[in-house]
Symmetry: none
Subunit: 227 residues, 4 copies
DNA sequence: GATGAATGAGCTTTCATTCAT
DNA sequence: CATGAATGAAAGCTCATTCAT
């Protein structure tokens, strides 16, 4: 429920099975790493910090991971798996498209909140290391493709016009990713440090809906909004 | 025109005036730093890299800067000054609001392109160092305020409805900043590495306009778009 | 007997207990530091000198000490503990006051000889660093107080007169400290490089006794000295 | 009057005569060095500190001195010349030997006070650099010889007994030097930071007189002191 | 003479990774 | 498996000294 780590966290890097003790140690290290990535950032976290936080010896880290990158890779995998899973679970058949978009934004926001450590670490690593930049591009690509597909469907249905669906999807995805980073990790904007979930989700949903449909979202139309 | 560096680049760390030779060296170091921040990132750039690239001795760096942070601070200042200046020059009285928004996006995009080194460095540093995160929040805050003001004006004029102008401004600003980072620095999305200026600018403008006005932008309406 | 280091040498910087191997390394580093402080002075000794002399890698130094100052602090502590202990062991009830004073001088001289590295380092550091000047003042303060107490006792007993016991104690203490430094570390006076223990001790004792009692010490009186 | 620097300060290292401008610069540098040696110590004073304090360019230092050592050497020379001169001026024919000793201590104390920068620098340098240790030994040697001569004279006159005049002179000289250092430069003892001139001088004189004569100094005898 | 930028050797400290116990 | 000491390559930064202007 809390994460998708269960699938993989009991496996060492080389595929060998771990003893019960090993499983516990590995989990302790991953948990410590998450805590620290979130608290002090990925780059600022040393291997020694992780083992200290996990109450393990420094050398034990290398029993389970080749290096810090591997920890992050593991986390990124779990993170992506979870987002994918939750996006797949979405009910795309809801009558009102805005509700679908809103659900998607809610999933994105709550996943990012639940995995803020991973989000922080991936964002950071993507800026330090081209390999992780590539990984991050892959991770977010599914979401982009989904959005682009939605835009193309609208176009085909004559419901809206969008000459560059991929660029638009990239822009909207960038908004979602960085907006979550800003409010869930970086500490908000200069004049405000946090945002209620409800507002965050609606704001993202509104931008997505309006950008895709080029009209106001249903809730507001009824109130005699932009029209 | 290219930058606001002229104002400050003839001043060393302690406020004393530099000789002509000093001005040249300082500029060479800044140029080398820009090049390297862009090419290999801020965190991956060592002081020795900068001096080597600038064709200067290691120690010379410290004649002009106390450390790498100071270089970035200088760049950030210049960057912000330039963006501010260019946004101030914008003609806000153009008849068509979309044109104003488009101009703004064009300024943002071209500024980010011209200062991609600074953008890369600031983004990176903001993720490694809380002090720079704060600085980055300040730098981008003007743009957020401007967008929020636009949204509030539309609301007051009854042209659109937007219950959370600040959150919306943050989302749109995040989109602009990260979209520029992704395409100008990080190398695009998984399936594409670059975007023509025209498309990038229009995409951002479209998202801004539609989100703020909750309707299609003028160009498309005429073509019988979303309606 | 040789030192009070035993109490503390099995503790690393952070208070954790060391393994046997660690105890050995720490001791090796301290021994190397002592040797070098004595041979080439505190300020002239680099961390790399210490580790090389100890046959350890440079980085190993930092497993045990935060910096060179900490090494000295450790030594100073041990030095002070030893002098205190030896001064406490003195038999203050000997019938002849001169013998008590002579014993005290003997303890001081031999402690300084045994810990000439520490003495040299503390003296040097006290001149480079106000923090160590303060520490040095504290270290020597017990001895000053002891001398001043002796002077006051004589005054009260009507055996001598000394209007400024604290100033006198400072002068006598300065004599003892610097005289030891000069002959045990600096290399004596311009025309002579060393002094037999016996003469050094008697000279100090004589100055102390005469200054406090304002009369010749017993041994000489019998020989028909100053009277 | 303030110093003996006048004799030499208008001569550059190589014997060439300086222009009036040069004389002023050299003096400014020496004055700045004195100030800083006193304020922050010899070792902690950088060449750049000196030139900044003197309001001169960094490079100008090397017009007048080969390095910092040479500055100190110059100062030491002046210092020694002054002490020698003042000790020579002493009236050794005063009826009361205590008065002679007291005058000598007064000269020593006031010279050290007037030249505390030099004293601080020489003491420090003597602990960092064997060359200066040697120099310092030479500087203080005259004083030692004078004291030893006094002791020998007393011995010959049968007025006191002192089997080791040179060791005694070293002890008394060490007392005088370090006592002055402690109170004029280092900042006193742990419980007190300064001493009135009168008390400092009398304390030194008392230790000298009593140690040499093995009896109370005249002033106290009259008050029915030690007898 | 005066200036201050340029130089680079030298030192400190950090930390990922290895490996003997 | 666990442990934590050992290692040494990398940086960062300082500052005496030189030298072109």
């Amino acid at each position: 429920m809390t994460s998708g780590q269960a699938d993989t966290s009991d496996l060492p890097a080389d595929g060998t099975l771990l003893t019960a003790r090993g499983v516990r140690s590995r989990a302790a290290l991953l948990a410590a790493a998450r805590l620290l990535f979130q608290r002090q950032g990925y780059a600022n976290t040393k291997i020694a910090d992780i083992t200290r936080e996990a109450g393990r010896a420094l050398g034990s880290f290398y029993t389970y991971f080749a290096n810090k990158e591997e920890v992050l890779e593991q986390m990124a995998e779990d993170f992506k798996a979870e987002i994918d899973a939750r996006l797949t679970e979405l009910d795309l058949t809801r009558a009102e498209p805005y509700d679908v978009i809103r659900d998607m934004c809610a999933v994105h926001w709550s996943s990012c909140r639940a995995h803020s450590a991973e989000l922080a670490a991936i964002f950071q690593a993507s800026m330090l290391d081209e390999r992780f930049a590539q990984r991050w591009r892959e991770i977010r690509f599914d979401a982009r493709k989904k959005i682009a597909a939605g835009i193309r469907a609208l176009d085909r249905a004559g419901l809206a016009q969008n000459p560059e669906p991929d660029a638009m999807a990239s822009a909207l995805g960038s908004m979602m990713d960085y907006f979550c980073y800003v409010w869930l990790i970086e500490g908000g904007e200069a004049d405000r440090v946090s945002l209620p979930d409800e507002i965050a989700i609606e704001t993202m949903a509104r931008v997505l809906y309006r950008s895709m449909f080029a009209m106001a979202e249903p809730g507001l139309e009824r109130e005699g909004g932009a029209e």
